[in-house]
Amino acid sequence: MNKIKSLADLKKLQSEVQSKIKLRENSESPENLVQIKVSMATCGIASGAKDTMNYLIEELDHQGVDAVVTQTGCMGYCYAEPTIELTIPGKAPVVYGFVNKTKALEIIEKHIKLNEMVDGIIPVAYSTIDNK
């Protein structure tokens, strides 16, 4: 049987990763990275936000795009879950609705990599009950 991974194994990985990070540190700072917030409340989770978020993290890493993917609460667009807020450095944030894996890939390929917005943007003018 294979040995099960433990914190001791993580220590080995830590030194490898640390040297990789040092090499890149000078070229990038966090504010220059693409930022994605995935709405992760009951409405989002019930619509598949967990799979969308794990897919985004894995696909962005796979494609070598440096991005920060974090979770956030309900943005009030429960009808359009899963929703994500995408911020390209230097640009205003954009909220996409109904982001399943197919949509997520389209957003990565077009919006993040080519800077072309795709269908499914929730208009800024949409008002939640908060500001009505």
Binding site: S6, M40, A41, Q71, G73, C74
Partner: protein, 185 residues
């Protein structure tokens, strides 16, 4: 379209309440007791807690502390699912101290939701929520597995827990350890 049909999704959802309550340490414990035919999920946090009035309304699906919408279904769905399997649900909270949610499910009950993708849920919680630490514990008759993210952070020193290589490591570590103790589906 997915729905809230896995226990792992409920855990992800209930923990979001703890995160919103500014918890810095969240405990997630899953205890499988086939002899008693019970599966007990306990989530504890050191967040802001609730006042007695809030505690009373918390399981009301038409109560929420959010301002973005007018319903709050998380706890009520969790309670309903537990009670549907002949189990029970308990919510304890003290303002300024924290909250504890305990849900007991009938382990072999036909209506018990499946565990689902527990590793995926834990990965999101552990690797993508800054400023929150977790103590995860899963107990089965075969054994138990505990992971304290404070120890993980200590081991990682200045390497971020969200680093892709670290994430893959944690994913494998969780999967292997949960397989080892033979968790229920």
């Amino acid at each position: 379209m997915n729905q809230m049909k896995d226990l792992s999704l409920h855990i992800l959802d209930i923990v979001q309440n703890s995160i919103r309550a500014k918890s810095t340490l969240i405990g997630i414990e899953i205890n499988e007791q086939p002899n008693e035919n019970q599966l007990i999920i306990t989530i504890t946090d050191n967040g802001t807690g609730m006042s007695p009035e809030q505690l009373q309304s918390a399981i009301d699906p038409f109560y929420t502390s959010r301002t973005t919408r007018k319903v709050g279904l998380g706890l009520s769905l969790f309670k309903q699912n537990a009670e549907m399997t002949g189990g029970s649900f308990e919510l304890e909270s003290e303002y300024g101290k924290g909250t504890k949610v305990t849900a007991v499910f009938g382990l072999n009950h036909i209506d018990r939701p499946v565990m689902g993708d527990l590793v995926g849920t834990l990965l999101i919680l552990i690797c993508s929520s800054e400023g929150t630490d977790y103590v995860f514990k899963h107990i089965t008759p075969t054994g138990e597995f505990e992971l304290d993210t404070r120890e993980v952070r200590q081991t990682l020193e200045d390497v971020p827990i969200s680093h892709p290589d670290v994430r893959i490591f944690i994913q494998e570590m969780l999967r292997e350890n949960l397989e080892q103790i033979k968790i229920s589906e």
